[in-house]
Symmetry: C2
Subunit: 489 residues, 2 copies
Amino acid sequence: MSPTKEFSLAPFDLVLFGGTGDLAMRKLLPAMYFRHYEEQLPDDGRIICVARSAMSTEEFKQEMERTVRQHVESMYDETAWASFCDRILYLSIDITDQAQYQQLVEVLGEVPDRVRVFYLSTAPGLFSRICDGVAKAGLVTENSRVALEKPLGRDLASAVAINDELAEVFTEAQIYRIDHYLGKETVQNLMALRFGNYLFEPIWRREHISDIQITIAEQLGVESRAGYYDHTGAMRDMVQNHLLQLLVILAMEPPVSIHPDAVRDEKIKILRSLKPLSGRDVLDSTVRGQYSDGTVNGKPVIAYRDSDGVAPNSFTETFVALKAEIDSWRWQGVPFFLRTGKSLQDRRTEIVINFRSVPHSIFDMPRVPNRLIIRLQPEEIIKFQIFAKGRGDEMRLQSVDLDLDFNQAFKKRQMIAYERLLLDIIRGNQTLFNHRDEVTAAWGWIDPIIQSWEQYQVEPIPYAAGTWGPPASSALIAKHNCGWLEECP
Amino acid sequence: MSPTKEFSLAPFDLVLFGGTGDLAMRKLLPAMYFRHYEEQLPDDGRIICVARSAMSTEEFKQEMERTVRQHVESMYDETAWASFCDRILYLSIDITDQAQYQQLVEVLGEVPDRVRVFYLSTAPGLFSRICDGVAKAGLVTENSRVALEKPLGRDLASAVAINDELAEVFTEAQIYRIDHYLGKETVQNLMALRFGNYLFEPIWRREHISDIQITIAEQLGVESRAGYYDHTGAMRDMVQNHLLQLLVILAMEPPVSIHPDAVRDEKIKILRSLKPLSGRDVLDSTVRGQYSDGTVNGKPVIAYRDSDGVAPNSFTETFVALKAEIDSWRWQGVPFFLRTGKSLQDRRTEIVINFRSVPHSIFDMPRVPNRLIIRLQPEEIIKFQIFAKGRGDEMRLQSVDLDLDFNQAFKKRQMIAYERLLLDIIRGNQTLFNHRDEVTAAWGWIDPIIQSWEQYQVEPIPYAAGTWGPPASSALIAKHNCGWLEECP
């Protein structure tokens, strides 16, 4: 029996609303193919793609041939691909027309007791309509689940409204709110590092840590998402979800177990411990930026305001840096510096733990702290920056790195986030999905910041594309230490 | 100004007693050449080699050409070698004849105020005679120092006697007792790691460390040293000095400064904190071994007892494993497992810090601890063994290593131990030399162990050459954890 077969799943029907969309073609269908290729899917597992386009299943498979296949790359295998395509059904449904749900009733009704996943890969405005539609069509069984992508609202009120609508049709245990960062193996590894090793826990606290930096830097600009993005901005698009999720995993107390409730309880606790930022305090603790003309990777980039689909006088931020604090015994007084931005100098998701300084230095040594650097993207590496005696006739300390490169340590391919997430939805494991209370708590912390920006008319500071954001970002951190990682020697 | 010139020394006369001996030719003269080659020696620095053989300085230089030069290897340079030879004087002196010291008086008297080092690279039986000789000849000035090699006695009483004799001629501040392990850059790096980094100190204590292993394993057998060795054994030859010194550096409290007194005070404190082992307790806490026939590195090795110069019924141990404990707040209850031996499977000086187990494991993970492995020889590497999530669709932890290879981190050549030690003697820095009280404390702990072996007639357990010693060595540690590093997965 192959190792993956141990984890094979119960029969399922996966219904992809938005089945012809970008996410389905680039991520969801390739992810399911990879699991099929590695023989983890049961024979009785169907993928029912739903979209408005009039198309037969055969025509949809031809479409897949043209789009999905290129994302499968080196794992393409003729036999596996053919048998994967046998799982696919396409239904042309106008989801605003209740009568058309009958097509789904007929297909799903063939196996009424099967695990049934409604994956809402559509515009958020349609979430409510679809839930209503499947409910009225009598499709929501005990074994049904619903999965949703961000954005789950654009503020606390709209998020509560969406969650209330979902709750009319599904129980909380049936709802899978996706933050695809949680599906990344690298992010799961953060929990493994913290709670699977003795070494880190004793020093993972205010007594020993000076500050923590979390960076999600993109080189891409706003590209084709301008219409959506200009009404959203970096705070809603990245900070409220991905950055806060990383902060939470770094800061949470050891959970009782890896049971979903145990893990999510600890995460909610951190979100509720975030020191509120509001009013004038926001001005000191946050930096809003917007990229102007510049050069990224040697290519000219036009200013955000000049991009197609962006208002020429747009106030939307493409960069945020902020200082968060956690009111708890473990973290009191330890700043968490978060930043994210578009059109930055480098592409990188990276966590930097700066330890305190040696309290009494008996050596001639550099004035930088010991650091633990955890890079999640583009490579998965861990680095302990320490000091050792340089060679030669002196006791002079130099910086050296203890390195771990996961690609070298594990020859096995890294799963993409959606493979893990789709499997967990099918098998009913909510650990890597956000509880309603997490979403509420995160928006509850973000809302007053955005309100303060609006109240004080905080205009985003321009930064040249291809830099690390506005200088104010460096100034924010300079009050506490030498700077962001790339600014410290 | 080149970096090494900053550290250039005052003019000196280095007098090597035993100047034609093995140590002088293999280590001391090459070490001085290396420092000369790197331009660290002042122009007015002479090396006066003293031995019994009738030879002119010119003839001695020809001897050096044949012997020393091969140990200089890639750093040989014709010009540097020629100017190095200009520093050399040879004096043929029978050191048991006081009249012959007059030759030294004439040479050293040319520069009476110069730093003057008497390096006793002779049989220990001659130490006292030489000290007496130089004193009677009026050669011991305020700027004089004496350096001695092990063995400093074969038990507490004889060590005290030697130290008393030295004290009649030299003050403690003039006496440089060499443990060449302390001259190794790798050993100095232990102090740098412990006290130059914030990271290690908080976890470097009983609350977090389960046990510590220190191994000095040799592949060589007794070779040409049989006559000396058979009257000495591994306990006196390796444990009393090198192994205890490594233990002390690992266990000591942070010193106030790197001033020699501050460092040596902390070292003495640990030696005095060693929990005494005596009487029947010794039988449980120590393992004596002696190698029998076997194969090392594919080559047949004859049993120790069958070696030239070894008594056929010799009781001398070529292997020791023991459990030491330190009575202190920091270390109470943490066993320090020490072992050393000849004709073992591998050549390796290695320290293994085993941390405690995760107190509450929420993951499926291996049952081995996090480890910090510090290898001093043959390569200088540091490894943090931790656990990370293995790739794939499970939260199963696997062992991975954070690595640091000093040869890759520092391109610069590593100094040999004697370069550092000789320089420190010349400049008058006693940090890396043993204080009289250290020698006394070490023998005071070792003596009762040897006495107990004699009292209970503990015969060394035979082990095949090319193994890791007798099985009793594994049994000693198995009461506490899975075993020596090579025995644990």
